[in-house]
């Protein structure tokens, strides 16, 4: 069972790449009563071990990244506005004119990402996305001096957005990564058939250094990377995957082809156990995690919870897909660990 209140809490915590501490602390608190072994790697990943009823033939690692896309403060300007560098996959069309939060040493500070008023836009500017280099943050400072007292270069900035829930869906900020974290936390509450290693990784949005080092540290025989898969709207006939039809298995992303045996095996497991599951009908998408997971030479597979508007101020997911993600990962881990 997914703990929806926990997911809500996780989504509310800002955690841009390289600054995942608060997300990690919350996950560590959740792991304490359920994991048999927990440690934190030099790059801040959590590696949690859970003893199963039997020793595995193949050591399986499940992982999900804790970080989210956002911005870093690059420069405080003399007029009190703040320039930003984007970190991670933010949709280029939805950046300006948004409420934001700056994570400073003294706590989170509300601000906004500015936008030129529509009344003053030229014909060419109308409706066009503002490139990240032209964005700036406003924290209400009227001078550089006032802003520099509050914000430092390197501080992380995230969109501020509400959480909402219906009977069938959840919607909130940072959902793309945190839903997979919640799914992994939920499966750790049950004793697995075989010993299991679960990693909650850092830097997923910026080069996947977290997964790479966690995989190196754990030396698993197979890795299942849990994340989100960009889903089409119900109006999109060519959508690579859809909300409500189960977690999406990737056979390929641009720059990585996943292990065919693992892909077919997991699909077979899902069909056998009647766990809803879909094939992601596309070969695009970010491959950093998949490549990093398999860099020690092991088999890897990416499984994503279908997600509308990943990286946007709010994303949308089906509750059933997150719950089925936990079921599928548990079943797949068992099947792989058994050597089947």
């Amino acid at each position: 069972m997914i703990d929806w209140n926990l997911l809500r809490e996780l989504c509310a915590i800002p955690g841009v790449s390289g600054d995942e501490d608060r997300v990690r602390d919350r996950i560590l608190r959740e792991l304490a009563p359920v994991a048999d072994e927990v440690r934190v790697t030099p790059l801040g990943c959590i590696v949690a071990g859970k003893c199963g009823r039997e020793r595995p033939r193949v050591r399986v690692m499940l992982c999900a990244h804790m970080d989210e896309p956002g911005f870093l403060v690059t420069r405080v300007c003399d007029d009190g506005t703040v320039k930003l560098a984007p970190a991670g996959e933010l949709p280029a069309v939805s950046l300006c004119g948004r409420p934001a939060l700056v994570c400073t040493a003294a706590g989170d500070l509300p601000g906004v990402i500015g936008a030129k008023p529509i009344h003053l836009l030229s014909a060419e500017e109308r409706g066009k996305p503002v490139p990240a280099k032209d964005l700036y943050l406003d924290i209400g400072a009227l001078s550089g001096e006032e802003a520099r007292r509050a914000v430092r270069p390197g501080d992380r900035v995230v969109f501020d957005a509400p959480w909402s829930e219906t009977e069938k869906t959840v919607s909130g900020r940072a959902l793309a990564g945190r839903a997979a974290c919640a799914a992994l936390l939920s499966l750790l509450r049950e004793q697995p058939a075989f010993d299991l290693t679960v990693a909650f990784t850092t830097l997923g949005e910026t080069g996947a250094g977290g997964i790479r080092t966690a995989a190196s540290d754990v030396q698993p025989g197979a890795v299942l990377v849990a994340g989100a898969a960009g889903a089409g709207s119900p109006a999109d006939k060519e959508a690579p995957c859809r909300l409500g039809e189960g977690p999406a298995l990737s056979f390929m992303e641009s720059g990585v082809v996943y292990d065919r045996g693992l892909y077919r095996g997991v699909l077979e497991t899902a069909r056998r156990l009647e766990i809803p599951c879909q094939e992601r009908l596309a070969a695009d998408g970010g491959a950093a995690a998949g490549r990093a997971a398999s860099h020690t030479g092991v088999r890897a597979l990416a499984v994503g919870v279908p997600c509308r508007n990943p990286g946007a101020p709010v994303s949308l997911m089906a509750k059933a897909d997150i719950a089925n993600m936990a079921r599928l990962l548990a079943a797949a881990a068992e099947a792989v660990a058994s050597g089947g």
Partner: protein
């Protein structure tokens, strides 16, 4: 003494901030301003013995000497920009169009609230490809059956907003255009409490400004003022805007000068600001002002009209920013002007 007066000022700013947040939290989309009108009626109750509404959704509050020869209309608009439901699709997506001049650039991925049979949270879908003519799609997570019970064509949609106190006296919220102006009128009425006025004053909170000013037009027709001052927001200096178009956050009211505004009134307001050491800037426009002052000035046989604007950044986005001191200074200037209106 100074510390005490500084403390009072801070408390005053605190109260002003909370009042503005109350005004912004209530929905008031063009043609459906009932939410904010109800909040406003509560705020007006202690300030005026005569509060009225009309068929269009305008709210009026009367002050000063009843039946005086001079009747001054003060206008601020109630409505905020948003979206409007055009269709609930069989695919469970809500189609919408803009209702007022929302900036399309801030819509993809933006959280919204649909005011159907109950408030329903949703988000504007990030489009598969850039197409400014495509209908806006809103996803709520509800299926078509539930949606068709709760949502229908014409329902209004507000951009989700989060009232936030920024550094100093700056605040951010979605509907500050023109709840900031509403707050100016409320504060002005408060400053005039117990004052002997030689004129009659009508505070008019107008519906429908964002789609053409019908509320103010009908209101001015009804009130028959001898002169009027509209209070709206205008552009505060920000990095990507030419300085000649702008006031400044904390720079005080922007006093409008334009062919459609009454030159003598505008100069009188400027002279008054100088005499009272109230900071101000001049906002010069070459024609119509795109505010309620345009329809008010041509009401009936014509009404001498001025325009004061609170400087605001990021207009028509959910991230609008103002400085509370500008609200206070605009209210002080208005109150001083009204005290000087004689027959």
């Amino acid at each position: 003494m100074q510390a005490a007066s500084g403390g009072r000022k801070e408390i005053r700013m605190e109260q002003l901030r909370e009042q503005i947040f109350r005004l912004c939290a209530a929905p008031g989309l063009p043609g459906d301003e009932r939410g904010v009108a109800a909040v406003l009626a509560r705020e007006l109750a202690p300030l005026s013995g005569r509060v009225e509404t009309d068929e269009l959704g305008n709210v009026y509050a009367w002050l000063g000497e009843s039946g005086a020869k001079e009747r001054v209309l003060l206008d601020a608009h109630l409505d905020q920009i948003g979206l409007i439901v055009t269709r609930v699709g069989e695919d469970g997506l809500v189609r919408a169009d803009r209702c007022g001049g929302a900036d399309r650039r801030v819509l993809p991925g933006a959280p919204v609230v649909i005011y159907g049979a109950e408030p329903i949270p949703g988000a504007v879908a990030v489009p598969e490809k850039e197409d400014n003519d495509a209908p806006l799609l809103i996803e709520t997570g509800l299926d078509q059956e539930a949606l068709s019970r709760l949502v229908g064509p014409g329902d209004r949609i507000a951009l989700w907003q989060r009232p936030a106190a920024l550094l100093g006296s700056r605040v951010s919220c979605a509907a500050l255009d023109d709840r900031a102006g509403c707050a100016v009128l409320l504060r002005c009425a408060e400053l005039l409490q117990g004052e002997e006025l030689s004129c009659e004053v009508v505070l008019q909170f107008s519906a429908l400004e964002e789609i053409g000013g019908q509320g103010a037009r009908a209101g001015a027709y009804r009130v028959r003022p001898t002169r009027a001052i509209a209070v709206d927001v205008s552009f505060a200096a920000q990095p990507d805007v030419p300085p000649e178009k702008c006031g400044a956050l904390g720079g005080g009211p922007m006093i409008g000068f334009s062919p459609v505004l009454d030159g003598a009134m505008c100069r009188a307001l400027r002279a008054l600001a100088e005499r009272l050491s109230i900071p101000y800037t001049c906002e010069v426009m070459g024609g119509e002002t795109s505010t309620d002052s345009d329809p008010i000035a041509v009401s009936r046989s014509g009404v001498r009209t001025a325009l004061l604007s609170v400087p605001l950044r990021y207009m028509h986005t959910p991230a609008e920013v103002i400085d509370l001191r500008d609200v206070e200074h605009t209210a002080q200037l208005l109150a001083a002007y009204l005290k000087g209106v004689r027959e």
